[in-house]
């Protein structure tokens, strides 16, 4: 059976599964639509949260980011998991006890202010919409690659699929679909990793394979990798090469950004009890860790496989013991077919600059040391001949690089789609909840009946899918920057206001509003200064380089500073104005104790 048919079968089967679940779990009330009737088992919720949270970026891009930078990009691993500790300890149980449906609703009630609630809605919309564009693009690209359709058709297919199961099922349908999507994506991620770990180190578990010994050559895998990449002029894999301050701030920005993402927070509204919310955050991290502890192995092993493809001698730890791969081999050999496949997409390319019939891959940007300098002189090298290696292909091409069977490749395709679709659905739910519950019911028409609110929720979900699809088809300049923006904004606006709402009885309406505005505005200004106004090219006021950054803080790390500004401003303004009213202090005291949360939709 050819690869295309296999892809079609696996992707088709996974979609049938999602549709079946959506029909089985369709929502009939607002409580089912927004919070799955608060009946989701904590383990199930953990699995759904994991799928909700792990986007196309986690599935496709993260291992590639680690592969080419090594230790320095551990920031992603620690940052995107450490946020769950903050969620479990500082937010999830209290927001669950609060017992409402959306994040802006908490902000509005706790800070007794419609203005605060609307600002909360704006923050949520900016964070979620920028994030969802990236997901829709990911869906389009994955479809295009594996179903051989155009990116536009791929995106439209994805939009129809999400529309069907998200609009029909609401939170209830999305929850169980995400459980299925988690199973698909983790299987897809793990199978190739296990095969490759076995091939290289003989370890079944990629987690221990990373620290294992190579089958060929007999050296420790990581030591050999360090040796091989430094011989080629690259920075060592396990070494620390960036600014420590920036590494800390970036990790912290990802952590508090994660804890502040509205589509993740609302998942904790779906469990029956406060104690389930605490436990559920733990289960979410268990399921996330199944991918996140495999990712560094996937990254390092694919880097090693790429290097040994280019320099067969590298497999034994001695790069220059054999000559580089020949042009002839790349064009004709069966085991190099993946290179030809990916050359078509433009994500991988090579050029025989010195015309010796060999493709020499090395770092031509650093001052060469021995033995590279000798090789450059002896072989008359004119620069790195592997001219393009897109980082994203490290996961997608991994099974092909390791010569794994066709069905593994088909599973990876289905897994990539599951990752993008599940996150898109979660984001769309957060967006539609903010529109129908916070804007329509909360501000425009408080007397709306439940039936009409449910209809409004479905219509706003449909409209958000339409907007996301249109933006995905014509991505604005900032699509590539969504991570920096979404995390920075969530970190600087939503997380601090929620945390102060729970841990302080003194922070008042004025403080919260001033804090949120100061946090968001400062973060946006900092990002725009270096990335350009609204990410329009050439409008940046300072170059986006470490030398120009304020104290070496990168725009992506600034969310941490924005959060500190938010906390500081809120504290000062609150202390300069009057205390919050008695009933608000009672509200804060009551969300701090679990008792009274499990009644059927408390005070609703």
């Amino acid at each position: 059976m050819d690869q295309f048919t296999l892809n079609l079968i696996f992707i088709g089967l996974s979609f049938l599964l999602y549709f079946g679940i959506a029909i089985w779990a369709r929502a009939g009330s607002t409580s089912e639509f927004y919070a799955a009737n608060r009946g989701v088992h904590p383990v199930m919720n953990g699995m759904a949260t994991a799928a909700d949270w792990m986007s196309a970026a986690s599935f496709i891009s993260m291992a590639g980011l680690i592969a080419f930078t090594g230790y320095d990009n551990s920031t992603y691993l620690m940052g995107w998991t450490g946020g769950y500790v903050l969620l479990a300890l500082l937010l999830a149980p209290y927001l669950r006890k609060f017992g409402k449906f959306t994040v802006p609703e908490f902000i509005g009630d706790r800070f007794y202010s419609k203005t605060a609630r609307i600002i909360g809605v704006v923050c949520l919309l900016v964070v979620s919409i920028t994030y969802v564009i990236g997901q829709m693009e990911g869906v389009g690209i994955t479809f295009a690659r594996y179903l051989e359709v155009s990116k536009t058709s791929g995106l439209l297919i994805g939009a129809v699929v999400v529309f069907f199961y998200a609009v029909l099922g609401g939170m209830k349908g999305i929850t169980y679909t995400q459980v299925a999507q988690y199973v698909v994506l983790i299987t897809a991620y793990t199978i190739p990793a296990v095969f490759i770990s076995l091939q290289l180190t003989g370890h079944v578990l990629p987690q221990t394979g990373l620290f294992g010994t190579l089958n060929e050559g007999g050296g420790k895998f990581l030591a050999t990798l360090d040796q091989v990449v430094t011989d080629l002029g690259f920075k060592s894999y396990t070494g620390h090469h960036t600014s420590t301050l920036n590494m800390i701030l970036f990790t912290l920005a990802l952590m508090i950004g994660t804890a502040g993402l509205p589509h993740v927070i609302i998942r904790f509204f779906t469990v029956p009890k406060v104690s389930d919310a605490r436990k559920s955050a733990g289960w979410a991290l268990v399921f996330i860790a199944l991918l996140y502890t495999v990712a560094p192995a996937v990254g390092s092993m694919s880097r090693f496989n790429l290097t040994t493809t280019m320099w067969p001698g590298a497999a034994g730890g001695d790069v220059y013991s054999q000559s580089a791969v020949s042009l002839d081999s790349i064009q004709n050999d069966q085991d190099k077919e993946w290179m030809r496949n990916w050359q078509v997409t433009g994500l991988l390319n090579w050029e025989d600059k010195n015309g010796d019939g060999l493709i020499q891959y090395y770092n031509d940007e650093a001052e060469p040391s021995e033995p590279l300098a000798t090789v450059i002189a002896d072989q008359n090298l004119q620069g790195n001949e592997l001219t393009t290696v897109n980082r994203d292909i490290m996961v997608l091409a991994n099974p092909e690089i390791a010569n794994l069977p066709g069905w593994v490749i088909a599973i990876v395709a289905a897994g990539g789609l599951a990752a993008a679709l599940s996150t898109a659905a979660g984001l769309l739910l957060a967006i539609s909840g903010a529109v129908s519950h916070d804007l329509i019911k909360g501000a425009i028409n408080p007397d709306i009946s439940e039936k009409n609110e449910l209809l409004a929720a479905r219509i706003s979900m449909g409209a958000s899918i339409l907007v996301a699809t249109l933006l995905g088809l014509n991505p604005p300049g900032f699509a590539a920057q969504t991570v920096a923006l979404a995390f920075g904004l969530a970190a600087s606006s939503i997380f601090p206001v929620l945390m102060m709402g729970i841990f302080s009885t003194r922070v008042n309406k004025q403080g919260a509003i001033a804090g949120m505005l100061a946090g968001i505005v400062s973060t946006l200004l900092y990002i725009f200064t270096y990335k350009g106004w609204f990410f329009i090219a050439d409008t940046n006021m300072l170059p986006d380089t470490p030398d120009a950054w304020l104290m070496g803080i990168s725009p992506a790390s600034f969310g941490t500073i924005g959060a500190l500004i938010n906390f500081g401003v809120a504290y000062l303004v609150s202390n300069a104005t009057e205390e919050p009213p008695e009933h608000v202090r009672d509200l804060v005291e009551s969300i701090r104790v679990p008792r009274g949360a499990s009644g059927p939709t408390a005070d609703h």
Partner: protein, 94 residues
């Protein structure tokens, strides 16, 4: 908001019995460990513990790429278990 009176009484009871203080203490302990394994062992103190070798590299690299994640999981479950116990001791469980 029919049960507001009830929750208020319980809140005061929770406050009086030091429930919230005990909760904050557990949070602080967990957050110190959280920061120690990631920012500490994984980044700042990595050079100090680089003498401890593991699988072709040093302990700090392991903490940065795997160890801290495993500790995070343990921390959350420890917190959930400890808080359930506190909830029962202070009579504020569900």
């Amino acid at each position: 908001m029919s049960e507001q009176g009830g929750t208020k009484d319980m809140a005061i009871e929770g406050r009086g019995s030091g429930y919230w203080k005990a909760n904050l203490r557990v949070i602080w302990i967990c957050l110190i460990i959280w920061a120690l394994v990631s920012y500490g062992f994984g980044i700042i103190f990595r050079p100090l513990i680089s003498g401890i070798k593991i699988g072709g590299t040093d302990l700090g690299f392991w903490f940065a790429q795997q160890g801290s994640i495993l500790v995070f999981i343990v921390l959350i479950f420890f917190y959930a278990w400890r808080m359930n116990k506190l909830d029962r001791e202070h009579g504020v469980d569900e």
